[in-house]
Subunit: 228 residues, 2 copies
């Protein structure tokens, strides 16, 4: 479902060129649950933003579900995102002055098929699944760090995407809440969802099926997870 | 240095009152390194914001370095913060379109005694200490999540504060970078700095001298850390 070859991404800061990704080959099959690990600054978020059609590679090829994404226009990429992908950003990216419930309903606003009532029901169910039934009316600045992160997780699940991309989704959560969230993702994976999950915690990566380690914009290791 | 009794903090969201802190007693002596732990939404950040003179309690008393803070005006609290405290927010709070170096220099702008040259030297030294010598000219949106967090840590150290308050300072960092940062804080603590450090990771809390656990706005456990 994800097929990437010799992918490069450069950023230009003044005179300097930062080589965030220096030629990455990565294949992810449908139904896999893949951990992306690596040191701070090694290129994990850059990789996820490109897989998520949020940023364009400098060089290399990328096929999502058989379609050549590197050649797509901005609008085609946006349509692809809204239909197939669910995304949890490292910095949550919730809309301020917008309640938790409205933030979670947002991805469904693009979906012309479902009614307002059905949209509300799906959003309520997603917030209950992450343990926030009692905070639906709160704005992001009225929620703790971990609660905002859980709103972002609920939003990524609400349009029933084919692929879920999560960047440090349990970074701000205590151990117990983290495991509740991981078992939620494991249930979704068991139902056939493909999940790509950036984490720096080895305990969390052990819940997945495969792990890929980045260093300085390269993949230095790939291994199957044995005892989940 | 920090003396808190029966501290309460309520938030009002529409008709609902959220009791974030429900009567907290906490004494912290000079030179201690205290971990604050607890589930997501248990009141850790609220506690840290009040200790950091960023928010006012609804009820109870708070003395910082022998001075009654609960009775202070907004300007008195700001002066107290800039002189005595260093703060690492859970959401970094870096100024956008401002370089890493300028963000770290910011707390020193209030200090009329030191020259622009000395201010620059201290900021460079702080960024080198957190491993970002090669990213000083980057804006926050040109840094990875972990790098932004390290800029925030450097900023909290640059004015040589008496008390450092850190909220999930290693939340976005890989294990190796986390331990480099923790040994930085342990060195500062060995030199006499008082540090209050929110974390949800037991391995990180083991680097400190004492740990305090919150649940639903109360302290449910306090214990000395034996084998650091
Ligand atoms: N401005 C606010 N308005 C209303 N409620 C708030 C506000 N800030 C925090 N809360 C509530 O107060 C409680 C405590 O929040 P706090 O941010 O202190 O939690 P925390 O322990 O830091 O959690 P986390 O580990 O998720 O960061 C939460 O239930 C939260 O919903
Ligand atoms: N917009 C940008 N402009 C310039 N450089 C950037 C930009 N975004 C990222 N970088 C650089 O690219 C490298 C990779 O960043 P990336 O965000 O992918 O790291 P990461 O592995 O997610 O790290 P972390 O664990 O700290 O979140 C970093 O060195 C960073 O400084
Ligand atoms: Mg990242
Ligand atoms: Mg918090």
């Amino acid at each position: 479902i994800i097929d990437i070859t010799t992918l490069k991404k450069d950023y230009h800061v003044g005179e300097v060129t930062v080589h965030a990704l220096r030629g990455v080959d990565l294949k992810i099959n449908e139904g896999e649950f893949v951990a992306i690990m690596g040191a701070s600054g090694s290129g994990k978020s850059t990789m996820l933003n490109i897989i998520g059609c949020l940023d364009r590679p400098t060089d290399g090829t990328y096929f999502l579900d058989g379609v050549n994404v590197a050649g797509m226009s901005k609008n085609e990429r946006a349509a692809m995102r809204n239909l197939k992908l669910g995304f949890v950003f490292q910095s949550y990216n919730l809309l301020s002055r917008t309640s938790a419930l409205e933030n979670v309903e947002l991805p469904l606003m693009y979906n012309r098929v479902i009614s307002a009532r059905e949209r509300r029901e799906k959003a309520v169910a997603a917030l209950e699944a992450v343990g926030l039934a009692d905070r639906m009316g709160h704005m992001p600045n009225q929620l703790s760090g971990g609660q905002q992160q859980r709103v972002a997780i609920a939003r990524s699940l609400v349009n029933d995407p084919v692929v879920i991309l999560a960047d440090e989704a349990t970074g701000n959560l205590d151990t117990r809440t983290s495991y509740e969230i991981m078992s939620l993702f494991q249930d979704l994976n068991a139902k056939g969802k493909t999940i790509v999950f950036v984490t720096h915690e080895p305990d969390i990566a052990r819940c997945m099926t495969r792990s890929v380690v980045f260093r300085d914009g390269h993949i230095i290791r790939e291994e199957e997870v044995k005892n989940r």
